[in-house]
């Protein structure tokens, strides 16, 4: 007796179904849902996929796009049975789907950001990482420069590692304006087709990069902390923090060129400057389309000229609390803050005691701050203070009570006497800053 139904025909290979692995979803925004050609995925209120097995046909598109491998393929028991009968040799096709035009784009470019002929150091840092990328790809590293009367910067760019420098030197480009710089950048990139373009994630760089990428309809990854080349497919792997820095994501731009990335200052290291290193300079002329929307800069206002203290916008805050003992002791915090280019803050009890005005108060009923560095001096860290400053990038706490709650949030906690530590810090900083004659400086 033979099997009645599938005696002659080989069974169709089961495709399986997909399922969600509980807890792995990060609510990326419904990538899987969007990728599913069969509308088999819905997203719940938590942002997680709900997979309708009846609709799923096992195409695996969702698995491919999921950044956290939160979806997996499985076979139903029936399918497993069929599979076991199915023959074992299954060719896995390696398909490198590449658009032909992508091969036209070659080279690594770094945008040199300058104001008044002075380059922002982030540009040289980008040349540092750009050098490595270019070597890995075995292509040229170029700097591109826009401005007025900026020829001298080309030499600097060579010194920091550029093989080639593209320059548009035009009076129209004297001050940065989105419209003019956008036009300049886009025309250069369209003409010379670099495969990678790097920009500094400064105020100016972010203003420009977003516009350039949109105009070129290409991908842009902001605030990268790591840039490498993937050996197999020559793609730029752009690693950046996401979810408020809680996770790192590696991002690719597979289908569009150039691959654009921005990097914050002081994330990459610049190369040793090589005196006398030179290369080819390519100059391009600047022709602005008529209907360009121009802006007019009326005034540049130095940050320091702001008379009132702006805690919320400060990058460095040196704060004092009850432990400062007396109002006159805030002078030393001021000195430290000045040295670091920061401002002075205060806890509620210091403000209540009348030692500092209310405008300096950090906390629940004062200002909420998120500076790069927060130094808490003689502050015990009552909850109402902590909620105002605990998301600072770095926190240094100096307090004589080792059980003070401030130490729970500090990146560096010093159990000690503020009146010894702070003057010693000031002395050391002064020495470091003057001794090295401009060798070190305040970075933020």
């Amino acid at each position: 007796m033979s099997q009645p139904s599938d005696g002659n025909k080989r069974p169709k290979r089961p495709r399986g179904k997909v399922r969600y692995i509980e807890g792995k979803c990060i609510a990326c925004g419904g990538v899987c849902q969007s990728a599913c050609p069969f509308d088999a995925i819905d997203i719940n209120d938590q942002g997680e996929p709900i997979i309708h097995l009846a609709k799923c046909n096992g195409c695996r598109k969702c698995i491919k796009v999921c950044p956290t491998e939160a979806i997996e393929l499985f076979y139903t028991p029936e399918e497993e049975k069929i599979l076991s009968e199915y023959y074992k040799t299954d060719d896995i096709k390696k398909t490198a789907a590449k658009l032909s035009t992508i091969e036209d784009w070659k080279g690594v470019w770094v945008f040199v950001e300058q104001i008044g002929g002075h380059a922002h150091s982030v540009s040289w840092e980008l040349l540092g990482v750009g050098r490595t990328l270019a070597s890995d790809l075995n292509v040229e590293l170029a700097a591109f420069l826009l401005g007025n009367d900026i020829g001298n910067l080309a030499e600097e760019a060579f010194g920091y590692g550029a093989d080639k420098v593209y320059i548009i030197d035009d009076p129209m480009l004297n001050h940065y304006q989105t419209a003019t710089y956008l036009h300049g950048c886009v025309s250069l990139i369209r003409k010379y087709k670099p495969e990678i373009v790097l920009m500094g994630a400064t105020g100016l760089g972010r203003d420009l990069a977003g516009a350039v990428a949109t105009e070129l309809r290409t991908g842009l990854t902001a605030d990268c902390t790591g840039l490498t080349i993937s050996k197999e497919d020559r793609l730029l792997e752009q690693t950046r923090p996401a979810f408020g820095g809680n996770i790192m994501a590696t991002i690719l731009s597979e289908t569009a060129r150039p691959q654009m990335a921005s990097v914050r200052p002081r994330v990459m290291s610049k190369r040793e400057f090589q005196q006398g290193r030179s290369g080819e300079i390519v100059r391009e002329s600047f022709l602005l389309p008529e209907q360009t929307l121009l802006t007019k800069i009326l005034e540049i206002i130095p940050t320091q000229s702001q008379s009132s203290v702006n805690l919320a916008a400060a990058n460095i805050i040196v704060s004092g609390g009850r432990g400062m003992m007396a109002p006159e002791n805030f002078a030393m915090l001021k000195e430290l803050a000045d040295l670091l280019g920061g401002v002075v803050g205060a806890s509620r009890s210091a403000v209540d005691a009348g030692w500092m005005p209310h405008a300096h108060q950090v906390g629940q009923t004062g200002k909420t701050v998120k500076p790069k560095l927060y130094i808490a001096c003689g502050i015990s860290g009552a909850i109402q203070h902590l909620v105002g400053m605990q998301t600072s990038d770095y926190i240094i706490a100096i307090n004589k009570d080792k059980n003070a709650p401030i130490f729970e949030v500090a990146h560096l906690g010093i159990v000690g006497n503020v009146f010894e530590i702070v003057p010693a810090m000031i002395a050391q900083l002064k020495q470091k800053l003057s001794h090295a004659e401009n060798k070190s400086k305040i970075a933020v």
Partner: protein, 271 residues
């Protein structure tokens, strides 16, 4: 005057934590909120509404549940809200997002010309600051990022003056309308909705525009229209807090430690 404020529903990333044992993201109990930067954009639009009697439209691209973000804006005083929701919009990166948003704005612009688009400077989940410039570029509006103060608005002359907050200085700029502004948090302090407004906004019908309405090429939106994609995600290395006892003799070592950290954290740098 017509002002558009694009807003985004985001997970409250400050509450997201990494499970130190499994190294996975703990999202349980993490609510979705209006992107905090966008709340300041809404506030600024409402302040202009108070002064110039502007019509404020809020739009958001997101899942159907993002509707409440729009309701919140309505309860604060926005006049109109539109949700852009379609499964084909999903999985979008900043380029594809700016596409959908700008196409929706174009539709609104045709009905009632837009003078200003106000965006938050960035979102807290993406931190890219790219969608604002993307919309400005696609709309061909003047682009003014990092605005911390609107200095002057001359509707007759179609001019605007703003102060921009850059790293080392402020810059006051004059530009023509229509313009797109991205605003920093310091631009204003937020208002709080009244209960009657909350109740009213809870009952407002919010139109949902799917791609059947926008009719965009599926290859330019959503996942397909996104040139970037995430290859992998991993937990970052975390620095643990250090406590040093500097009572007595340890003082100098502690001070050296602080100075070293200042260099390590790039607060002070070697040139």
């Amino acid at each position: 005057m017509h002002i558009i404020v694009p807003v985004k529903m985001v997970p409250d990333t400050t509450l997201v934590k990494i499970d130190p044992e499994t190294n996975t993201l703990v999202r349980e109990g993490v609510p979705f909120i209006t992107n905090p930067f966008d709340t300041h954009a809404i506030e600024e639009a409402l302040r202009l509404k108070d002064r110039y009697d502007a019509h404020v439209t809020v739009i958001s691209m997101g899942p159907p549940s993002a509707e409440w973000v729009l309701r919140r804006a309505l309860s604060l005083g926005a006049d109109q809200a539109i949700l852009l929701s379609d499964r084909v919009f999903g999985g979008a990166d900043t380029l594809a997002t700016s596409k959908v948003l700008s196409e929706a704005i174009k539709r609104l612009h045709n009905e009632h010309p837009v003078d200003l688009i106000i965006c938050g400077m960035q979102t807290i989940d993406g931190d890219t600051a790219q969608v604002g410039p993307g919309i400005a570029c696609r709309m061909k509006f003047t682009q003014l990022t990092l605005v911390d103060r609107i200095l002057q608005l001359d509707l007759a002359q179609k001019r605007i003056q703003v102060r921009r907050k850059l790293e080392e200085y402020y810059e006051s700029v004059e530009a023509s309308l229509p313009a797109l502004l991205t605003v920093v948090r310091e631009i204003n302090s937020l208002r709080y909705p009244t209960v009657p407004k909350k109740l009213e906004s809870a009952e407002t019908m919010i139109p949902v525009w799917s791609n059947e309405i926008l009719k965009l090429d599926p290859n330019t939106i959503g996942l397909k229209g996104s040139p970037t994609n995430v290859r992998r995600i991993f937990a970052p290395q975390r620095e643990k807090g250090e406590i040093i006892d500097a009572m007595g003799d340890n003082k100098d070592a502690a001070v050296n430690m602080i100075i070293d950290k200042l260099f390590e954290w790039n607060i002070v740098i070697q040139n």
